[in-house]
C-alpha cells in the first residue's frame, strides 16, 4: 500500500535516528523482516528513487493507532534528508514490503546475529520469538562500537546479548561469527536469524551448512523500486533441484533460506 504517513517522533540515539511513523492498521500486517520504501527529498528533489528501510518494530497504541519504528543511520543523501524531518511532516510511504522472517511453530532455541546498521529488526524479531516461547540469544557485531545498535529495552526479550567489534571499542574484540560454532553446540541452536552485510551472512552460512542448522538470512542488495519491477536487487538462489536463478530480494526476500542462496556467486554473473 502507498500512503501518506505522519512522522510522529524523530529522536537521535547515538549514531542513529529512531523514527516513529503512523501507518494506522497497516501496522498489523508488518512482520519482522518486512521493510518500507519512503520518498525522500520532497517534490523538487533530484533523488528520484525511494529509500528502503527495515521495520524494526511496530506497535498499536490508543493515542496514535498503529505505528512503526525505523532505525535510520544518516549516511547517504536520502537518509540524511529523512533524519532531518521534523515531527508532524507527512511522508510518502509504501508499506509493508518483502518476505518476513519465518517464526517456528514450536518453541526452539534460536540465535539472532546482526551486523552494523542491519541489526535493528532483530529486536522486534526477538520479541516475537520470545512470545512464541523460544529461547533467544543474540550476537551483534560491527567494525567499531559507534555502529552497534543495542537499545536497553531491546535486551528484555533476549536471554543473552554479546557484542563484538573489530577494533575492540565495545564488547569483545573479534568477529561476530567467531563464537557461533560453540554457541550452536552449547545451546543446541535450531535456527539462526541473521541480518547485516552480505559477507557476514555468507560466513554464517558456511557454519550453518556444516551442522545442518536452519539459516534465515535477510539479504542486502541495492534496489531501485522495492516492489519487484526493476530487477536490480537480485541474489543468486538455487531451487529444490539445484537450478540457480536471480531472485529479487525485494519480493522473494529480503529474508531468504540461507542454504539456498549461492553466497559465493553474489555479485558475479552466472
Amino acid at each position: 500500500m502507498q500512503i501518506n504517513a505522519t512522522l510522529i517522533s524523530n529522536k537521535r540515539i547515538g549514531q542513529y535516528h529512531q523514527l516513529i511513523i503512523n501507518i494506522g492498521d497497516l501496522a498489523i500486517d508488518c512482520k519482522p523482516g518486512n521493510f518500507v520504501a519512503i520518498s525522500v527529498g520532497g517534490d523538487s528533489s533530484r533523488m528520484i528513487l525511494r529509500r528502503a528501510f527495515a521495520i524494526s518494530r511496530t506497535s498499536i497504541s490508543a493515542t496514535f493507532g498503529g505505528t512503526m519504528e525505523l532505525i535510520v543511520a544518516a549516511h547517504g543523501q536520502g537518509s540524511r534528508w529523512l533524519c532531518e524531518q521534523s515531527e508532524g511532516v507527512s511522508l510518502d510511504v509504501v508499506v509493508p514490503l518483502g518476505t518476513a522472517f519465518g517464526i517456528p511453530t514450536e518453541s526452539l532455541p534460536v540465535l539472532l546475529v546482526g551486523g552494523g546498521y542491519g541489526s535493528a529488526p532483530l529486536f522486534g524479531l526477538a520479541e516475537v520469538l520470545n512470545a512464541r516461547g523460544c529461547r533467544v540469544d543474540m550476537l551483534l557485531g560491527a567494525s567499531t562500537g559507534t555502529k552497534i545498535y543495542a537499545p536497553m529495552e531491546g535486551k528484555r526479550a533476549v536471554n543473552s546479548l554479546r557484542i563484538f567489534t573489530e577494533d575492540g571499542s565495545m564488547g569483545q574484540m573479534g568477529r561476530v561469527t567467531d563464537p557461533i560454532p560453540d554457541l550452536i553446540a552449547d545451546l543446541n541452536i535450531a535456527v539462526i536469524y541473521s541480518c547485516g552485510p552480505m559477507p557476514m551472512l555468507g560466513a554464517i552460512n558456511a557454519i550453518t551448512s556444516k551442522v545442518g542448522v536452519v539459516h534465515q538470512a535477510a539479504v542486502e542488495e541495492a534496489m531501485a523500486c522495492g516492489v519487484g519491477i526493476c530487477m536490480t536487487c537480485v541474489v543468486p538462489v538455487a531451487d529444490s533441484i539445484g537450478a540457480i536463478s536471480m531472485l529479487r530480494s525485494c519480493i522473494d526476500g529480503p529474508v531468504m533460506d540461507g542454504a539456498l542462496v549461492q553466497w559465493d556467486k553474489v555479485g558475479r554473473a552466472l
Binding site: 533530484r46 528520484i48 523500486c225 519491477i229 530487477m231 537480485v234 536463478s245
Partner: protein, 313 residues
C-alpha cells in the same frame, strides 16, 4: 471542463489511453497490479523477452544519479515459452492491452520470437527492442547500425505477417537517428519507440572502479527527458505520418504533453514507477486535465502540435 477524447492508435491497434508502461519497468504487470488495475492504463509494454531464459548481469545493477538512474540488468527473463505460458494469460485475465517487447542476440532470434508470438491471441502490438544497451558487445546493438536495424525489422515483418503492428525501439546513441528511423519504417515497422536508455557510467570513488557490475548501464529518468523530446521531434518532423511511442523521464502530465506536442501518439512511463508505483495513474489523470485546460477536445489534435506554424495558432 470539456471531456477529452483520450484514445490513440499505433498502427492498426486502438488504445483508450495514451499512457503505457515502459518495457523493463513493469516486469510482466503482476507487481504493479497491486497498486492499480492494469486495464485502467493504455497498455502494458512487457519486459523484453528473449528466446531462452536468461539470468542477466551481476550486481550492482543500479546507481542513482542526479534526476536519473543507471541500470544494468542484461535482459534477465524467463524466455519466450514460459512468458507465453504464464505471463500472457495473466495479462489477458486482467484485461490489459498487451504490447510484447522482444529482444534477440541475432537477426534469426528476433524472427524466432516473432514466429512463436504469431499465433498468440490477445496481443495488441510487438515492440522490437533493437536498442538495449546492456549487452556484452556494443556491436550487438542493432539500432546503432542502419543496415542491421532494417534486417531485424524485415525478418520480424516477414514472419509475423501484415496484421500485428510492429513498433521498433530505437537508441538515441546514434549520429543520424532519422536515417535509422526511415530504414526500419521502410523495412515494415508501423511505429517507433523513442527512446531507449542512454549509455552511461558511474565510477565508485571508494573502489575507484566502475560502480556497476556490468561497468556501463542505461541512463533513464528526468535527466534524459530533453534528449528524448528532441528525438521524438526530429523523427516526427521527418516522418509525420509514422506514430511514435515516446518515453524518457516522463514523471508528470506536463512531461507527457511535451512528448505529445513533439509528435508522440502515446507515451511510456518507466523509471517514474520505481519512485512511485502509482505514477502511471497520476500522469494519466494530469495529462487528461492538462489537455482540457489547453482547450483540446481530442488527444490526436495535440500530437505534433509543436511543429505547427505560430501563425496557425
Amino acid at each position: 471542463m470539456t471531456s477529452v477524447d483520450f484514445s490513440t492508435t499505433l498502427g492498426n491497434s486502438w488504445f483508450p489511453s495514451p499512457i503505457f508502461t515502459a518495457s523493463g519497468c513493469a516486469s510482466s504487470g503482476r507487481e504493479l497490479a497491486q497498486f492499480f488495475a492494469l486495464h485502467d492504463i493504455g497498455g502494458v509494454v512487457t519486459k523484453s523477452v528473449m528466446n531462452k531464459a536468461r539470468t542477466g548481469r551481476q550486481t550492482p545493477r543500479m546507481a542513482e544519479t542526479p534526476s536519473g538512474m543507471l541500470n544494468s540488468i542484461g535482459l534477465q527473463g524467463p524466455g519466450i515459452d514460459a512468458f507465453i505460458a504464464k505471463d500472457i494469460p495473466y495479462l489477458i485475465e486482467e484485461k490489459a492491452r498487451i504490447i510484447v517487447s522482444i529482444a534477440g542476440e541475432t537477426i534469426e532470434e528476433y524472427s524466432t520470437l516473432a514466429r512463436k508470438l504469431r499465433g498468440v491471441a490477445g496481443i495488441s502490438a510487438i515492440e522490437v527492442n533493437i536498442s538495449c544497451p546492456n549487452v556484452e558487445n556494443r556491436g550487438l546493438v542493432f539500432a546503432c547500425d542502419a543496415d542491421a536495424s532494417r534486417r531485424v525489422i524485415d525478418g520480424v515483418r516477414r514472419t509475423i505477417g501484415g496484421e500485428l503492428p510492429i513498433i521498433a525501439k530505437l537508441s538515441p546513441d546514434v549520429t543520424d537517428l532519422v536515417s535509422i528511423a526511415k530504414g526500419v519504417v521502410d523495412a515494415g515497422a508501423d511505429a517507433l519507440s523513442l527512446i531507449n536508455t542512454v549509455l552511461g557510467m558511474v565510477i565508485n570513488l571508494e573502489t575507484m572502479r566502475p560502480h556497476l557490475g556490468g561497468k556501463t548501464g542505461g541512463l533513464s529518468g528526468p535527466a534524459i527527458r530533453p534528449i528524448a523530446v528532441r528525438a521524438v521531434y526530429q523523427v516526427h518532423e521527418a516522418m509525420p505520418s509514422v506514430p511514435i511511442l515516446g518515453m524518457g523521464g516522463i514523471s508528470s502530465g506536463r512531461d507527457a504533453l511535451e512528448f505529445i506536442a513533439a509528435g508522440a501518439s502515446a507515451v511510456s512511463v518507466g523509471t517514474a514507477s520505481f519512485g512511485n508505483p502509482t505514477a502511471l495513474i497520476s500522469i494519466q489523470k494530469e495529462l487528461k486535465e492538462l489537455l482540457a485546460i489547453k482547450g483540446f477536445t481530442s488527444l490526436r489534435d495535440a500530437v505534433g502540435f509543436a511543429h505547427r506554424d505560430q501563425a496557425a495558432d
